[in-house]
Symmetry: C2
Subunit: 255 residues, 2 copies
């Protein structure tokens, strides 16, 4: 089963497009890292189409944090796909080792990749038939204007990244796109084609989701929420916050 | 002392522009990871302007490899600058955590960064006054043609990355550029300005170094060698191979 199929099935079963982002910040956590993350995972799993640990926050704990991530990846329920947010890039020879780490040692379902180094730099990840990559298309930071949203030989730079996702269709693995809803216009979002999308979060008004024309899409759509679930409204439990995020996303998708 | 000053001093003391790349491949190593790397470090240090561990090869060992890297970074002699090759990218909020990992927890002198997400994504690293970053300008893989060497609003995409390195001059930290000598013409190399350069290796003929006009440069120049020292000519010791690499680089620089 391909990554897209596994994810689409999960979205159908849960009625949720919510991706629960795991960004554990030492200064905002009571207790130890592993316990905190396991509590989030266990309580939010029923509402999660996927989990997305961002490795930066585990690396910030040093080698010990890396070990916790390794342990957690074994403990996430098998039925919930895992997108490991690593945004890696390197030459093909080195990307083979990253792919081995994530897809063989850790057996995650998908990873995020920065494909600025070109198509050959993503090929090692595409050799795995039941796995996926999300290429960084339009990120949610203001710096997206510096390169991603500028004209590269007649089209926006992110459209060339999107071309790489299309080109991936002849490979065993699946490729989708990260598309943020901040800093973009309706015209730009209309250029985003029907590939698996990972959206970093709803926009301030949530309205831009309409511009993605989600109703007509076949490929699975994930919308991430992290800080609102992990750190928002401390009097509410993780489950209640994940359920609320799921419902908000469903409402936004249905316009 | 800035990163550039520390590195320039080291280059002057050793008469070497050699950066020893640490890319330990499990399938090519006799014995354990830590012992192998320490042997390379101890034997090549006299000829090394810098060490450059590539974190991908340690990650491929799982959390245990990550722990070995953490230990090694404590054991590399203080006088040899360390460029940690991570090629990280993320939004600014997350890059802060990567910067903390590398510059505070591990105290490396410099890191490599993929700046496709824009200038704000490198700012967290530039806040450290005695540290540096190398932005990926032109990489050595064929995929460099897909984005890096294409026209982005009148200039090559890598020139916009180079602009970010220049813009960094008003920040506490230093910024340089990764520039590979493969797949580029003399005309392209002539566009590379006088910022700290990290060159992934000499070209097949070594001749392209002339096109970088190294004689007139003020900013420090590092030329990496990894596989030839770690795995080439197994009957020779690491020291002899590093010395030969240093001499070859000196000869190439002097034309």
């Amino acid at each position: 089963m391909s990554f897209s199929e596994k994810l689409s099935d999960r979205i159908a079963v849960t009625g949720s497009n919510l991706c629960v982002g795991l960004d554990p910040r030492a200064e905002q956590i009571d207790g130890d890292l592993h316990t905190f993350c396991m509590q989030v995972i266990e309580e939010t799993a029923p509402f999660a189409a996927a989990f997305k640990p961002n490795i930066a926050y585990f690396e910030a704990y040093g080698a010990a944090g890396y070990q916790v991530l390794e342990d957690l990846l074994q403990q996430i329920p098998d039925e919930v796909p895992v997108v490991l947010d690593v945004k890696r890039s390197d030459i093909p020879e080195t990307q083979k080792y990253y792919a081995k780490s994530y897809f063989e040692n850790w057996s995650v379902d998908a990873v995020t990749i920065n494909s600025y180094l070109g198509f050959d730099s993503i090929e090692p990840f595409l050799q795995y038939e039941d796995r996926g990559v999300y290429l960084l298309g339009i990120t949610s930071n203001p710096g997206a204007q510096d390169m991603e949203l500028r004209d590269l030989e007649g089209r926006l730079a992110f459209e060339h990244v999107q071309d790489m996702a299309h080109k991936s269709s002849s490979y065993p693995g699946d490729a989708g796109l990260v598309v943020g809803l901040t800093n973009v216009t309706s015209e730009i979002l209309a250029k985003v084609s029907d590939v698996p999308l990972l959206v970093p979060g709803l926009g301030a008004q949530g309205g831009n989701l309409e511009d993605l024309q989600v109703a007509g899409r076949q490929a699975p759509l994930l919308i991430n929420a992290s800080r609102s679930i992990l750190y928002g409204e401390p009097d509410k439990g993780f489950a209640a916050k994940a359920e609320a995020a799921r419902d908000k996303i469903v409402a936004a998708i249905n316009g």
